[in-house]
Amino acid sequence: MVNPLDDSDNSGLPKARTGIEGLDEITNGGLPEGRPTLVSGQAGCGKTLLGMEFLVNGAREFDEPGLFVSFEETEEELKDNVDSLGFDLEELSDQDKLALDHIRVVRSEIEETGEYDLEGLFIRLKHEIERIDADRVVLDTIEALFSGFSNKTILRAELRRLFKTLKGLGVTAVITGESGDDSLTRHGLEEYVSDCVIHLAHTESSNVYTRRLRIVKYRGSSHETNEFPFLIDENGFSILPVTSLNLDYKVTQERISSGITELDDMLGGEGYYKGSSILVSGTAGTGKSSLCAHMADSACERGEEVLYLAFEEASDQILRNMRSIGIDLERWVDAGLLHFQAERVSMYGLEGHLAVIHKLVNELEPELVIIDPINAYLTGGKELETKTMLVRLTDFLKQNGITGFFTNLSSADGTSESTEVNISSMMDTWILLRDIEQGNERNRGIYVLKSRGISNSNQIREFLITDDGVKLKDVYVGPSGVLTGSARVIQESKDRTEKQNIEEEIERLEIELERKKEAMEAQMDLLKAQLQTDRMETKKKLEELKTKREQVDLTRQELSQIRNADKQDPQGS
């Protein structure tokens, strides 16, 4: 168990360990040794049990014999009451490790006249303490004396003397007292017992009862001041030491698979961070539990222990449903890796539930805790309490390096509930499952809304639940919006046809162009040939003309020579 206060108490005050889960942590080591501690609370809040466990643990684990003085229940009743917790008082008292003493106080039997004191009680206590050499004493509840004696002055003086005597005997005493309307105890016992006062309360909210414990004072010692939820179950008392919300837990770089390859791809290719908190929210039937099952399956495959808290389905039902989508979780249950805890939250109340989880986690030491769904807490508590509780829960899991996988059922109108927004801040990864309604059908979409420290995909993917588990498909994002399901399939085939048409058109145009080109080229060849012919003809004509001209020139020269005429311009025309 995490105990961040281990070394914070240096008062050196000797303490008697209670052996009660959680109580030694929040008192920094136990009750003040050799001094009386007052435990106050309403009827039925667990005072007697706390006292009894203190003694039984003392006798069993710390070799400190104890005396239980009961003013209310008889020895037989006490034995029967704790029998179910596995406390065999008979055996312990046979070994003189425990003594039970029922002191009956009946007012009607007693007449008072003149002065008296409670020396009879003192002698009786001392006698029993000496008989078994008790180190621990429980007086449950000493206030019964107030109903037995009418002279309050004497009674108060004697109580004062009693506590002094107990201190003198050096026993660690637990005195229980019933709380009054405005006071810790009806008869102001706190005025006599000032070393340590513990208050137990039993609060009701929305028909759910929650037990809480608070250390009102602890002289000479540091202690936790918060109210701590506690639980009484078949193993007795356990207190959940919810520490202040410190965020100093170690983080790991290790990644774990979501169990769905495509989802891992969306999460930077490697899945979630180990020890992070993951929230999956979505409307009814979007496949939250399927994601849980994949997560559990892949964790178990890695040989990790998984605690699966199911609040809406029985474990058998989950196993059956998951088998239908090809995930066999039963083998992991059989292998002792997967532990289901299926029950309604209202059984214990919010705080009580937290205590249950705490206890289970400490017992099983899982590496993954799945809570499906956290909405169940809302029915058991108020919004703020729910949030506080979840903060504590995520904190607790993180401190222990446990991956927390939570699902949240969101309302159908698609808007996020305020609680969802509230709790999302505690989550490292938030995956949204959405219904996409289109063309008369309802399909599932998945996207990663946020994921701290992971470069996640921003795509909405279509989420298919197949016989072979969850598969993710790319959704169709086109000019007419996002399409899923058969609409996607239709659109895709429509697209395919269209594409084919275009390709054919392109081909056709290309061929046509080629043909045109060829035609043109043929024409060009023709023209070239014609040009060639023309050129040749022109050349020929030119040759002829040139020859002709030369002949003319020659003729003229000859003539002038003949006529012996004046020299003429050679270029003469």
């Binding site: 002191i103 106080v105 039997e109 007693i110 007449e111 008072e112 003149g114 008296y116 020396e119 002698i123």
Partner: protein, 107 residues
């Protein structure tokens, strides 16, 4: 266990013997006073038909359990039944008589 006094002069019409137990813790002033007061009352009202057992819890602490003795001094009327319990130093005679269900005119 100290036994003090004895049965004296049992009358035929009232053969009933009163057995009274007085629990004390040592020779404390309260204890001594209670014993003195008790003896006086018995002499006045139960002359000859009472028996007082004084039980010192300091000497016999285990005896506190039987009669559920918390306060001392405590007087217990063991016989005749029903058992009654009176705590205190028995300084108020009237109250003691009421507690013991002894009518003053009995004597």
């Amino acid at each position: 266990m100290d036994e003090v006094d004895s049965v004296e002069d049992i009358r035929d019409e009232e053969p009933e013997v009163w057995i009274l137990k007085l629990y004390v813790a040592g020779q404390s002033p309260k204890s001594v006073e209670a014993f003195k007061n008790l003896k006086k009352i018995c002499k006045e009202h139960l002359e000859g038909r009472y028996k007082i057992k004084v039980i010192d819890l300091l000497e016999n602490p285990e005896l506190s359990k039987g009669d559920q003795i918390l306060a001392v001094p405590t007087l217990i009327r063991e016989l005749p039944p029903p058992m009654t319990k009176i705590v205190g130093n028995l300084s108020n005679e009237e109250k003691v008589l009421v507690g013991l269900d002894l009518q003053p005119d009995d004597g």
